[in-house]
């Protein structure tokens, strides 16, 4: 089960080609809200080609992860190493970091938002870069009326293009970047009003 999903994993590993091939062609981009000890954290995770990009409450964190066995993660954060074990008993989720245990809840705010329109859908909304990258296309101009879900910009990073969509129906109030610009994770790219 040791799947190379780590950053520094070589692209060719003799015994694991089939699996690394799988991971390399799988692309994931998610945002979770994670609650530990009553405190909520926002975690943006992107995986492509076996590498992870991670933002924790907006702050970029360098992460290298290997799933050693099901429910056992070997993590490197910077150069600190952790073995994290996932304990799932009767619906409860606990994560063990070394010998410390954390009661944890994971939810996906976007999927919730998709179902229940919230106050957030009113008023101006910022479009931010989910990861460091380059603006390869701008699909609208300032003042354009857009539908919810319409493409606004395309960011490229790690050989993948990410179409940034409008979270709501409205007008492009501001366009803060142009084609070819390099952006950092979290940069505001546009505002929809």
């Amino acid at each position: 089960m040791s799947r190379p999903i780590g950053k520094s994993q070589p692209t060719k590993k003799p015994c694991d080609n089939a699996q690394s091939g799988y991971w390399q062609s799988t692309l994931v981009f998610v945002t979770y809200q994670i609650t530990i000890d009553g405190k909520k954290y926002r975690l943006d995770l992107t995986r492509s080609e076996g590498r992870w990009w991670c933002r924790l409450d907006g702050r970029e964190v360098e992460v290298d992860a290997v799933l050693a066995r099901p429910d056992v993660l070997s993590l490197r954060i910077g150069n600190l190493a952790y073995e994290v074990k996932c304990e799932r008993v009767a619906g409860d989720l606990h994560l063990w970091v070394g010998s410390e245990r954390f009661s944890t809840e994971v939810s996906d705010p976007r999927s919730l938002r998709g179902r229940i329109p919230t106050a957030d859908d009113h008023g101006p909304k910022k479009l931010t870069a989910p990861m460091p990258g380059k603006i390869v296309r701008v699909l609208v101009s300032q003042g354009t009326e857009v539908e919810a879900g319409a493409g606004v910009l395309v960011v490229e990073a790690m050989k993948m293009q990410n179409e940034i969509k409008s979270p709501k129906k409205g007008k492009i109030q501001k366009l803060l970047v142009s084609e070819g610009a390099a952006v950092n994770a979290g940069d505001v790219l546009a505002i929809v009003e």
């Binding site: 998610v30 979770y32 964190v61 056992v72 996932c86 070394g98 410390e100 954390f102 996906d108």
Partner: protein, 509 residues
Amino acid sequence: MFKKILIANRGEIAVRVIRACHEMGISAVAVYSDVDRASLHVRKADEAYPIGAAAASESYLNIQKILDVASRSGADAIHPGYGFLSENAKFARACSEAGVKFIGPTAATMEAMGSKTRARQAMERAGVAFVPGTSRGLESFEQAEQVASRIGYPVMLKAAAGGGGKGMRLVHAPGELKSALDGARSEAERSFGDSEVYIEKAIINPRHIEMQLLADEHGNTVYLGERECSLQRRHQKVIEEAPSPIVDADMRKKMGEVAVRVAQAAGYTNAGTVEFLVDEEKSFYFLEMNTRLQVEHPVTELITGLDLVHLQIRIAAGEVLPFTQGEILIRGHAIECRIYAEDPDNNYFPSPGKITLLLAPSGPGIRRDSGMYEGWSVPMDYDPLLAKLIGYGTTRDQAIGRLTRALNEYFVGGIKTNISLFRRILSDPDFRTAKLDTGFLDRMLTRKTPATPSDSRAVEVAVIAAGIFAVLGSSSAGAGERPLTSESTVGKQNVASNWKITAHKEAMR
């Protein structure tokens, strides 16, 4: 030597005895109840016989069924392990009548030592010190009053047939005596079918120290050093060590010689343990004798280098003890943790269920006697003891260091265990300095968990790991497990709409 031994037990102790049989070239016969077909002792045995329903009375406590298997399998001896029939004199007698050797003392000795009052009478005759009090059941409240005032309060009332704290009452003052006596009697009657209660001087927060003995059937009896068993929760041992930090060579010799005298007075054979209460002045008093192997026997094995189960089998086969008292070398320090399926967050209630992940420690100084395996479902029907983890070291500090390291490696997923309790005990300053008594654990547990200000870095790691586990979804989970969130797949589907894959050849390979 025996050709085939039936193990009338289950779980980790059955596995431990099967291993000893195999090490000695003896066939091992397992018995199992309906819920134990997939248990490790069945996997490891040479023969395995179903003996009935989950309830112990229908299977592991059913003398007739076990003797039937002994006869069908042609076993020439039976090892009872501990618990179940191990201290049942009737079973020992039935084995003897069926012509199969019971690996343990004789039925007569078990009967003599099984009653605490009869054992005290025997010790009185043998001139062994026991806690001041009566060695016969109390005949009247008046007698209780007289004895109590003679030996001085506080006193302890105890059921003669007792065990596990049942029928025990601590009495601080004369005014409490009457109701305590009535309560102890009725609880003893309910628990053991025997209302006999005796009185002892109460020793407050004593140490509980026991001496391991071996006696062959040719009159040779030796002691193998003591075990410190003061750490108990509700009168059940939780963590044991050898040697006791307060026992020096001189005290060991004195206690050992008293224990040998106890055994010889009882005509004892095979492995047995004499329990003592030790007060703050290190005076020790006979408490009772356990006529069987004990859960904590590995700590004695590690400090003496002997295998008690091998020796039990050799003694039962009629061999002479292969060493004298003077040849026994005690070296190093050993500590045992009893790993239970119980929930530390929920008052240590049992926690049966399926083990979805098992990371087991090993390495220098670590012994693991386990009855579990990954994928096994811990049945709800028996004692929650899953495994014993034992750490050995040159010194007590090294044993604690190794055991702490091993506990940090140990992980049982799918059920709850008390592994975290041991981490807490081993890091307790009083434990580190060996300030132990029978009240230690209850005091520690009533204190709040030291408000370890969660290392903020560890919290971040947990947050990030939780996210990664959620992305990996069910592929990262043990068999039969749910993914972390029902939305985690939504995350993956977003990929299709959110992302377009650039057709770089490298990316698609």
